[in-house]
């Protein structure tokens, strides 16, 4: 893996001056990935509609120092399939010499939900690309609505808290595992709090994307939606890992492996407490049930992950 000194000398492809919020997790995720791109390779980035898209390409400005395309909300993967197919055709005809790689960066709305069909189709067809989901667990660009990635109990504007309901009633969709079941060459779950782990995964992702599709899900907290102070982004992301809420693992050619062990996990409440979107769970006595259910979700998911790793934890 490249050293920090090497990485710090690489040219950033996402330039400063974009309009993402201060303290946003998304550009951190993108930069960790793009720094791992082999310096000799060119890249085309595709974003579905979302925070990253609207904030980095306000015409006539662009924050991208590489080629970039946005099409619509649900079709980043399909759009990139077209770019990749064009590359294959033009390369075969000798019209293109350069080594191009292809990456989509989509939020959880455009990935878990409306973009899921086109993502699944692109992965099944084996297009050579990496698809990175920067997961901030809700539709943030439009004002914090629930998505398939929103955890149980979280307040959002479409899963509000009230007399009859304490935030989102359902658990989250385990998209990383679903993508692994597509039998991709490489699938990983990462967090912006663990940059070394992420960059190592990004390096593998770029390499494997020459063989076929690669999917990486990276936790990218949103302080606006999660309701915590903007300087705490990395800290909150780290708590998600430390509580086993967000395990860091990879599935390399079908082999599951935990990449950052959490031997002595903190209770999940340590991750929930700093976030205003879960504040209602800690008021009064009424929401112990929900808290218990969230901890059970975490424990069950971790046990499932361990069994998939067949005891092969670090």
């Amino acid at each position: 893996m490249a050293t920090l000194a090497e990485l710090s000398n690489r040219r950033e492809l996402l330039a400063s001056g974009h309009r993402l919020c201060a303290g946003c997790g998304a550009p951190i995720a993108v930069r960790q990935f793009l720094l791992a791109l082999p310096p000799e390779a060119q890249v085309v980035v595709c974003c579905p509609t979302g925070c990253l898209e609207v904030s980095t390409t306000i015409y006539p400005y662009t924050a991208w120092r590489c080629s970039y395309i946005h099409n619509a909300f649900e079709n980043a993967a399909a759009t990139l399939c077209g770019v990749e197919a064009a590359y294959a055709a033009l390369k075969r005809k000798g019209k293109i010499e350069a080594d191009f790689r292809f990456a989509a960066f989509g939020g959880d709305g455009g990935t878990y939900d409306i973009g899921f069909q086109s993502l699944s189709g692109a992965m099944e067809r084996g297009h050579k690309m990496i698809y990175v989901c920067y997961d901030n667990e809700a539709y943030m660009n439009t004002g914090i609505q629930r998505s398939g990635a929103t955890p149980r109990g979280a307040w959002t504007t479409t899963s509000p808290t009230g007399q009859a309901q304490a935030g989102k009633r359902e658990g989250r969709k385990d998209l990383t595992a679903i993508m692994a079941e597509h039998n991709l060459v490489y699938v990983a779950q990462a967090s912006i709090s663990h940059w070394r782990d992420t960059v190592a995964k990004a390096e593998k992702a770029w390499e494997y994307s020459k063989e076929g599709p690669v999917f990486v899900n990276i936790l990218s907290p949103c302080h606006r939606g999660w309701r915590f102070p903007m300087e705490k982004t990395i800290e909150v992301a780290r708590l998600a890992v430390r509580t086993r809420f967000w395990p860091l693992y990879e599935v390399e050619k079908g082999r599951w492996r935990i990449t950052v062990d959490v031997a002595n996990p903190l209770p999940v409440t340590e991750w929930l407490k700093p976030q205003g979107r879960f504040a209602h769970l800690f008021r009064g006595e009424g929401n112990q049930e929900v808290l218990r259910a969230i901890q059970e979700d975490v424990d069950r998911q971790w046990a499932k992950l361990l069994s998939r790793c067949q005891g092969g934890a670090v």
Partner: protein, 393 residues
């Protein structure tokens, strides 16, 4: 030497696609377009084309992939029908708004509900305002010819708009017809090697470009839309020129519309696609008996040739428009009728306008129905201007 084939309409499209040999074809099967996908897949499997074919999981993804491929600087084609075109609807606008020269074969079929696989024009009429050029084809021959020309029109630097070539589902798509095809070399020379505009390709190493950017709150959307409108207007002349040039190599030249018996007529029928053959054959008999009725077979529906049509239609006593779709605006007729009516509005002595709705959901347009329509046009009648042919009562 050109070859004469006896093939169905879908094979005529696949033959055009084989000769064009696009760099990327992204497509999803749907009746009655499916046979195009299947035939083209055979060409790919046999190595007869140099195309990257993407068998996507939906029409939405088909058009999305076409957009990505076209933005990457490749020549791109697809094909669809009905619900498939409807599923593409959102991204049809993106393709046109990004000014990507994608060519699509659309085999016209009714839109649900009730689900119906047969021909009508509600699919392409639904895409009327999406910024796509729309060419209509009476026969398999015209389907083939239009597809070759569509590539030139779409990629013309003055145009840079996607083009949809329409043909009637089953009536033409699945019927064997006599089709004269160009030699491969001739067809390839006509469409030429695609040259993407410099500085606009995602795959131009060392010259990165951002495509599909966010317009901000009060950006350039309005100006971009106006620019599309201008490109659409310029397309009329390009379509005419390409049609003429195609005539020089094939012996079949194409214009904005084709006329039959209009030179001495006082009644003009206006129609699209295969119905024109039925109308023409019946008109021949009526004209022998002295009826002064002719046909204007409209080939170019978008861009709409407003000035040209106003001038051509102004002198007729009656203009009767045949629509294979409804606008569902509440007994206001079909889309073609309403465009013709708008075109003639304001003339000092406009022709009387009549609208015949026919053939929805694949209902046959029989000679008897045509006779009834012509009778209604030539005799005194108290029928309302919007009339239905072949509707069961």
């Amino acid at each position: 030497m050109a070859k004469i084939l006896a093939i169905v309409g879908t094979d005529a499209a696949a033959e055009a696609m084989r000769q064009i040999d696009p760099e990327v074809v992204a497509v999803y099967p749907i009746t009655p377009q499916t046979a195009i996908v299947e035939k083209f897949a055979e060409y790919v499997a046999e190595g007869q084309v140099n195309t990257e074919m993407i068998n996507v999981e939906s029409e939405h993804s088909a058009m999305s992939a076409c957009i990505g491929a076209a933005a990457a600087g490749a020549r791109v084609m697809t094909a669809t029908s009905s619900q498939g075109l409807a599923l593409m609807w959102e991204v049809l606008y993106v393709a046109a708004g990004l000014r990507l020269p994608i060519v699509m074969a659309n085999v016209n079929r009714a839109l649900s509900a009730p689900i119906n696989i047969h021909c009508d024009h509600s699919d392409s009429m639904g895409a009327r305002d999406s910024g796509w050029i729309q060419l209509y084809s009476e026969s398999a021959q015209e389907f083939y010819d239009n597809l070759l020309q569509a590539v030139r029109v779409a990629e013309h630097p003055e145009v840079r708009l996607p083009v949809m070539v329409c043909v009637d589902g089953f009536i033409i798509s699945h019927a064997i017809d006599r089709v004269e095809v160009l030699e491969d070399g001739q067809a390839r020379a006509f469409v030429g090697e695609y040259q993407p505009l410099p500085g606009y390709s995602l795959l131009d190493a060392g010259r990165p470009v951002s495509v599909g950017m966010f317009d901000g709150l009060y950006g350039y959307y309005y100006e971009a839309r106006r620019a599309q409108e201008e490109a659409m207007a310029r397309a009329l002349e390009v379509i005419r020129q390409v049609g003429e040039e195609y005539g020089r190599i094939s012996g079949r030249s194409y214009a904005l519309w084709e006329e039959y018996g209009l030179e001495d007529a006082d009644i003009c029928l206006v129609a699209l696609n295969s119905a024109c053959g039925t109308l023409r054959s019946r008109l021949a008999a009526w004209r022998e008996r002295g009826a002064r009725i002719g046909l204007l077979k409209l080939r170019v529906f978008r861009p709409w040739p407003e000035e040209q049509l106003r001038e051509r239609l102004a002198g007729f006593k009656t203009v009767a428009v045949f629509d294979r779709a409804l606008t569902l605006a509440g007994n206001c007729g079909g889309p073609l009728y309403r465009d013709v009516a708008a075109t003639l509005y304001g003339l000092p002595h406009p022709p009387q306008l009549v609208n015949y709705i026919y053939g929805l959901g694949g209902r046959d347009l029989t000679l008897t129905m045509v006779d009834a329509a012509l009778k209604g046009l030539t005799e005194e009648t108290k029928e309302k201007p919007v009339r239905y042919l072949g509707l069961r009562v």
